[in-house]
Symmetry: C2
Subunit: 240 residues, 2 copies
DNA sequence: CGATACCTTGACCACTTTCAACGTCCGTGG
DNA sequence: CCACGGACGTTGAAAGTGGTCAAGGTATCG
């Protein structure tokens, strides 16, 4: 891993401060984190971690999007997670990653060297509680995704995916951008996330477009003209 | 939940002692657990927990098999986990289950009332460490299953499933029963676990039988005549 | 012994994939 | 500045895997 080291910004001004692993830390705890953190950035397409590799750091995503992927010997790949800003890479007590981590866009990470971070964990309940919470959220998300992968149709998968983008984006930028969105992934990456082929993804997006549910500005950015219809298609029950 | 309360057995003689949530506890810690535990049992097919329900207990599976399932409005269901002996139900800091828990066979649980258990967690690092470990193992398993659901063929799914049964059974009964196994689930349940229909499951099992890889004694019990071939079909790399 | 739940097998069908061609955007270099 | 090349995306046609529907088989339990 040879990413450039950027100038850090102060934790107090960090855009992901309220949701990241450090969200419960204040004062002295934050000062320690401040001291052991290093920003690193990766270009779109760069591999951040290799499957089976031993991690020398843990990190929060500050900006950009990264993917967690598993690959079969013959090249079929399945994404098993999507890392958006504030998401965390690394697990207490596990030094190997069980999947590839790849930057889907330019990515900036807030990295902590693993050893100091783990030592800090032992004496900082705020941190370890939050980490457990994050892991359990991921477990819930993984199980929802299992339902999608195992039982949903292509149409439902795409609708669910976009519905998720709406939900996540309404969480972060609380700017009232009701419906203008950007696909964080290429068609092929979306396909690997949803267990489809890129052609099927393309066709289903076209279908949603021709049904007047989505309107594309360009390949990546679009508006949701009919969020209700989209959600109905997704097959999920009413939003929580 | 109205399961009969069985006479407890002593923790020291518990068959799942070495792998369950209590595996790191000794002496005084074990004495406390001993005091707050209650055995409950469920008949095959009984629902142990309903999705969205608030849990009043957490538990370890002592014997039998239970399933974790999610269901779409129209009835399609996907299993998101399989609970075998020593597996744990319940999460620190979450009082609702996000899926249905159903007894696939007669099941005996070692139950702890949630409040006392959570209090104990706070002062028993052995217990909470083990719980985090268990949650992370489940996360890994969920991600492996995502690869299966999203990218594997019916044939590969069935082979992976049986391969998993071999691995799990070699863990527990270290009796040298190289190859005699029992399907813990009905065809329909297997289908819901693998994201298939029961007919496809049946056909694929028949195929493995006619290829001389499996040999059935009856509907549920069989021998693996060619574990190597089975594993090759599964699409996974060499066993860890 | 019959009822019922579970399983198997066949025939057909549909959805998604596969294969292929073409289109669009964008950066690079002539 | 435009032309070329490559990455990315769209669309069509054909093929194939797994699903659906249906009939019949087998085991188990009263």
């Amino acid at each position: 891993m040879n990413a450039p080291v950027l100038s850090n910004i102060k934790c107090g001004e960090c855009p992901i401060r309220h949701r990241a692993v450090c969200s419960r830390c204040e004062g002295a705890e934050l000062d320690i984190l401040e001291k052991i953190k290093v920003y690193r950035s990766f270009k779109a397409g760069e591999q951040i971690l290799w499957r089976g590799e031993s991690m020398d750091f843990v990190a929060s995503v500050v900006s950009g999007v990264a993917t967690l992927g598993k690959t079969l010997e013959d090249g079929r790949t399945q994404m098993v997670g999507l890392l958006l800003p504030s998401d965390f890479i690394g697990r207490p007590g596990r030094d190997r990653v069980e999947f590839d981590v790849i930057a889907a866009s330019d990515v900036t990470l807030c990295c902590f060297d693993r050893k100091p971070f783990e030592n800090l964990l032992l004496v900082t309940p705020h941190l370890s509680e939050r980490l457990v919470e994050i892991a359990l959220d991921e477990l819930d998300a993984a199980r929802d995704w299992m339902l999608l992968l195992g039982r949903k149709t292509a149409r439902e998968k795409i609708a669910t995916f976009i519905d998720m983008l709406i939900r996540r984006s309404s969480l972060e930028g609380s700017t009232a951008q009701n419906d203008a969105l950007t696909l964080p992934l290429s068609r092929e990456e979306i396909a690997n996330y949803l267990g489809l082929t890129l052609e099927t993804v393309s066709r289903q997006l076209s279908a949603l477009k021709s049904q007047g549910i989505l309107q594309f500005k360009d390949r990546r950015s679009f508006e949701v003209l009919n969020p209700k219809a989209l959600h109905d298609i997704s097959g999920d029950d009413a939003p929580r």
